[in-house]
Symmetry: C2
Subunit: 309 residues, 2 copies
Amino acid sequence: MSVSADSTLSEAIEHIRQIGHRAETIYYLYVLDQQRHLVGVISMRDLILSPSDELIKNVMYDQIVSVYTDTDQEEVARVIQNYDLLAVPVLTKDKKMRGIVTFDDVMDVLEEEATEDLISFAGVPKSSAEGEELSVFKTAIKRTPWIILLIFMGMLVGGLIGVFEDTLQSVLALSVFIPMIIGTGGNVGTQALAVTVRDINLKAGSKEKIGDTVKKEFGSGLIIGLISGIILFVTLIILQTNFYLSLVVSLAIFLTICFSSVVGAMVPLILNKLNIDPAVASGPFISTIIDAIGLLIYFIIATSLLDYL
Amino acid sequence: MSVSADSTLSEAIEHIRQIGHRAETIYYLYVLDQQRHLVGVISMRDLILSPSDELIKNVMYDQIVSVYTDTDQEEVARVIQNYDLLAVPVLTKDKKMRGIVTFDDVMDVLEEEATEDLISFAGVPKSSAEGEELSVFKTAIKRTPWIILLIFMGMLVGGLIGVFEDTLQSVLALSVFIPMIIGTGGNVGTQALAVTVRDINLKAGSKEKIGDTVKKEFGSGLIIGLISGIILFVTLIILQTNFYLSLVVSLAIFLTICFSSVVGAMVPLILNKLNIDPAVASGPFISTIIDAIGLLIYFIIATSLLDYL
């Protein structure tokens, strides 16, 4: 709903009475000039609370938060949310008013984006997340390439075990700890990833230095790794595992946790710099990379201490 | 802001003019009786668009969407979102009006919950997700027990390898596929989990049968498993891997994918039935359980075909 800047408030209210029934929102009144350029906005609140013979141009705000017809919906949602608006005007490139987006459109977008983030985090391709009406067959087909890609990445990771086959041959007990090493790397990495993605979302706008988050995650990794390593070492000794094997496993857990937390924090930060949504390109992909790092750390330590094992 | 049902609309508008400056929202006017029970609501829109000498009680709605002082904030957010409200009245147990919650409070809650879901999905404890101001040390300490728990679960999973040590001893090449088998189980399970959590969120309210989602995920698992198994088998044969070993690995991938998709779908559905937020109690925990299933499937098949390997 729009009025001219030279009307009085009572004329504006009369205007609302006449056409308000057809308007989507009456909570803001937009003030346009002759060429339909947006020059001001007045809230229903101010309209009601000001003297009725006042001119619109004297009570309107001319600092207007607006979006453009080609702004993407997630960005529009963020604008409405950050400014706590009921609606935001949509302008064409030449600043003419084209329409509005209201807060209730935005709540749906936010919910949708949140679900999408969760889905992406698990590595389900976007198209399948949106295609609620897809048949089981089509959904499965969309998910299959992703799973197959990860299977082949898993084979490459497993290939590392093949490289260290001699080491494994002489100490078969090393194999018992493989699931734990790669699982822990994945868990710590995904935690660091989630914390970093949250930080990026929360601090959207405020450009905190990449270094700070990575430094913080490295600190966390150091502490978590140290405590975990010590507890694991003590447990293995109590379970009467070979002293050097206990040492190798604990050391590997410590280093894997340190590395994984840094990698898990760095990847989303880099993706964000490259303007790729970090929640999308993450999840199992990063876990698999970190699996490889963990396995490599484990077998390098084991091989170098092989004489004692 | 509240008025009595027997005022006229123009009296109500006058009332708003007087105290509106202090009110948080003027978009709804709540109508209370003598005992401050909420009896009706009138929107600013109707207030402006109706004849000014009409009595409030003739234009107010008496079907009021409301929440209680002890309703949890996520539920309040959902009410406001589902009904596209600007504000919702908060009542005490005896239906007296206590205050309102507005849509802008809710957008923050929705964003917060979404972030929390993502964080929980990665297995970061809730308290650390909220404690943005926590030091690196305190954050690390909060995450450590979770990691240690998963380390010990990983040791138990690894124990399965120990059980099948004879099998592994005779065919060391089996160890190369361990990361792939457990990785794939985890990936498929997490996908099924994410899809199911989304379905639960989208269909909150509409009680779809548990059986349906599980059946759909089993169908997907069957298709994904079949395609992945065949592609893997062909690849291994091309790479000149032993025929029976290729068969064991491919069969294990097929069965692991089928099992994992069903488990990944069932766990959140069961948690939801028990009124536990499925996004919270999920992530790495379920991956670890599925790791064990995958490893068990793999070594049972390998052991039973050991004579041919």
